[in-house]
Amino acid sequence: MNPYVLFFLLFGLGLGTTTTFASSHWLLAWMGLEINTLAILPLMTQDHHPRAVEAATKYFLTQATAAAMILFGSTTNAWLTGQWDIQQAIHPLPATMVMLGLALKIGLAPMHSWLPEVLQGLNLTTGLILSTWQKLAPFALLLQFQTTSTSLLIALGLASTLIGGWGGLNQTQLRKILAYSSIAHLGWMALILPFFPSLTLLTLIMYLIMTLSMFLAFKLNKSTNINTLALSWAKTPALTALAPLMLLSLGGLPPLTGFMPKWLILQELTKQELAPAATMAALTALLSLYFYLRLSYAMTLTTSPNNTAGITPWRLPSTQSTLPLAIAATTSLLLLPLTPAMTALLKL
């Protein structure tokens, strides 16, 4: 791809998210979402093979449908209430439409099935953009607009955590596993959204950091399925030793960063007297934990038989930049002691 065109597209990605962040008007927010969708399509088909084109087509169709639903909901809202403002109270009917449109856009559970299919067709860098940067704009809208109905979000959230854990169980492809992990994490965010939006923001940031480190680690290993993951100890021994901790942090085990959002969400749900929902979410997190554990088992906890020539690649310096991975991995392992500071900083 021509570097000028690449710059133009990356600028479009930035512009779309910034437009949605800055807008208080539904039409402008919708425009930002559309710019985002359009700008990533050529990046998806960058390595031009049929699977990538298929993924781009699927992504375009779902995102166009979601954006059309959001636009239809917001025009209906303008028709009924006479204003376009995002932060003003919204009529319940368009509120549900916009909510479902945004859920389709980020891939919450009943509308989730495009996400693993699309992510599987992309290379790891574009997949990283898709599962981190592309979530920001819809979440900015979800955090801003006022809803009165909590049951829809709770249902979406519980279904997402369940299906995100369940769907990932039998996968051997890393990108699909990461997609299901994304669905499960987004479910936790949707679950707490009606009660404590700052916690949603905190969970989103933590999820972005952890998934960034996982994508970068897989990219350094050039591995896209579990089999190639088993050879990573010969390529990068130190990273391979840390990878199970990063995976368990995604799963939400206590001394690691990933425990923080789950802990705070469960506590808040219990305070809202939603103990059944909290129990349900915690139990479905076990399903996710199972496949994270299986990944770490294949990657680190076993050593396959090998010859001496096969274990030399770690001596060669890597051509990829490792600084972002180092920062992301450190953050995704060691942030739990900063929980009070994080909760104090992220007040909405």
Binding site: M1, V5, F8, L9, G12, L15, T19, L28, M31, E34, I35, L38, A39, L41, P42, T45, H48, P50, V53, A56, T57, W79, L80, L93
Partner: protein, 173 residues
């Protein structure tokens, strides 16, 4: 006038049903043209004649491209008509669902009309929709700049997706 509006509204719904029910791109494009024309008729009937003219021209241009593209992509010798069993079942299903939706929401939120724009037209020099165009170019100029930028971006996106011989993205594999 009421009969004309009734014709336009029924034609709009019928056009949308024909788009949704027929699998053949030829008839779907035809249904889209009918729906667009009838929708513009509704707009013109409510006083938005300039708006409906602009919309119809843009739709017509888009429809030409869509029709040419779908005819080139899927040239079927025997496309399915609306009388075929499979399509007719879909048509009946959509008509029934429109009827059910009408019956459920009757007398509620949709029964407004496009009154507020021309409510005080007796006292105004400018007609509602032409005034809207002027407002769009004066107050909404920064929005227009963003829209132009988006169109430029779309041009690059489409070029990247479809350029060259082997790089056609929308191609029957």
């Amino acid at each position: 006038m009421t009969y004309m509006m009734l014709l336009c509204l029924v034609g709009l719904v019928a056009g949308l049903i024909s788009v949704a029910s027929n699998p053949s791109p030829f008839f779907a494009a035809l249904g889209l043209v009918v729906a667009a024309g009838m929708g513009c008729g509704v707009l013109a009937g409510h006083g938005g004649s300039f708006l409906s003219l602009v919309l119809f021209l843009i739709y017509l241009g888009g429809m030409l491209v869509v029709f040419a593209y779908s005819a080139a992509l899927a040239a079927e010798p025997y496309p399915e008509g609306w009388g075929n069993r499979y399509v007719a079942v879909l048509v009946v299903a959509y008509v029934v669902s429109v009827g059910v939706a009408f019956w459920m929401f009757r007398g509620e939120w949709y029964e407004f009309s496009w009154v507020p724009v021309n409510e005080l037209s007796e006292f105004s020099v400018i007609w509602g929709d032409t005034g809207g165009v002027a407002l769009m170019y004066s107050s909404g100029s920064s929005m227009l700049v963003i829209s132009v930028w988006v169109l430029l971006l779309t041009l690059f996106v489409v070029l990247e997706l479809t350029r060259g011989l082997s790089r056609g993205a929308l191609r029957a594999v």
